[in-house]
Symmetry: C2
């Protein structure tokens, strides 16, 4: 009996999405996920189910400007056609920006060298109606210099256990951060952080701590103390999901 | 019998709103309007119905960063308290930015000297999911210089009948435009127009014409020809509502 051998290929997808109405990246029992939508769209091209792996498992309400996903498929449409076909099936709040051919064995999460997240804080007495789903609205002005000093303390290799949500299981809570910067323009503070990996809610717990420092409730040094303590109770509150964006993922 | 005389005062409100889910500024038989929401919120402070007049009657899907409204009321809360009270009742996509005391007889529409609108055009192969409700997505690059030349032809006092939607009744279709500028940053073209008044769909018909010129289908001079002809059929299509913002209103 003849055996048909399907040639497997790995695709790398770059995505942007407005996370507002989703349960998050990851497929779940109830609610719409970005992974679920992509897998459905991909399955229509493949003629059978396809698993799509994402570089970062963004939570409900978290956005992406440069999420990366990978999938192994056998169909032979060229990458530009795949991008168009996926976009024609996806809702407007999820867009495939690019599809490229990846090397065999490429995996969006395991092959990632670095991820960059950005967090937007809108500073104004009255909330901006256009930023209600894309920024944390903070009424009081924040001490930018104190936040900058605190942010810089995160650069390097540290145990980030204090900035991890309870109930998550990971092999190690040690991560290396190579960028941690506070920027600003009128009415807006932006925090950018890049590192080799992030624990669950880590960026949002860091931002919550930065804002406590910016408010003058804690000195900048608290960031280092919390880090050293390893205790989640020492860090600030988890900042709202809506201000967070997965900006880019870099690979070896 | 004693007569209580209520002191009337006029308030001037500056508003920002995301027009996406509204039927427009104006109260209508069905659907939620910004005017309707404001009048309800105001009525709760006043204890009886209040009419709120807006400077520009923005259509469904059109946004505002600086709409101005006026209302005559008798309650005596100070302006800052009124702003907070209104915001606490309004949904998040409508915000009162400022409330000030206005002179007797001030009317947001009739007292306006000039209105400024901005229109955003997103130029990219794939649509930006964050701009899907805040810009017109155009795939092909546009000739910026041709658009600039055409935009400049609108400055001055002209009969804008050709840029008016059918079925509207106005005393005169002559308007004075003192600013008409095409700006750009990477992936985004912004058109700003300021004038003493605008006909129904006028800015969107002008933008539709500018885009036809930007696409190279018509020369810049077409803008002047259409203006002179007075015929709506000569102008470009009406650009989508979502790209349009009422930016500011100036008074004498």
């Amino acid at each position: 009996m003849a055996r048909v051998v399907w040639a497997m290929r790995t695709l790398k997808l770059t995505l942007a999405y407005d996370g507002t109405r989703f349960v998050g990246w990851q497929r779940q029992a109830a609610g719409e996920s970005i992974q679920g939508l992509l897998e459905s769209a991909m399955a229509r091209l493949e003629g059978r189910s396809v698993t799509v792996h994402g570089a970062g498992r963004t939570d409900a309400g978290v956005h992406a400007r440069g999420q990366v996903a990978s999938a192994e498929v056998t169909f032979d449409h060229d990458p530009a056609t795949v991008a168009r076909a996926l976009n024609s099936q996806l809702p407007e709040d999820v867009r495939v920006l690019e599809v490229v051919e990846a090397a065999e064995g490429f995996h969006a999460r395991f092959s990632a060298r670095s991820k960059t997240y950005a967090y937007r804080i809108r500073i104004s007495e009255v909330a901006d109606p256009f930023d209600r789903a894309y920024a944390w609205h903070v009424r009081s002005p924040l001490d930018l210099e104190a936040m900058r000093r605190a942010a810089a303390l995160l650069i390097g290799t540290h145990d980030f256990a204090a900035f991890q949500s309870a109930g998550t299981e990971v092999r190690t809570t040690v991560r290396t951060i190579h960028r941690s910067e506070v920027g600003h323009e009128p009415g807006l503070i932006t925090y950018e952080i890049a590192g080799d990996g992030f624990l669950r809610h880590m960026v949002r717990a860091i931002v919550g701590t930065l804002v406590e420092i910016g408010r003058g409730r804690w000195p900048s040094q608290t960031m280092a103390d919390v880090l050293a303590s390893g205790a989640r109770t020492g860090a600030g509150p988890t900042a709202p999901a809506c201000g967070l964006f997965l900006v880019r993922v870099d690979y070896y």
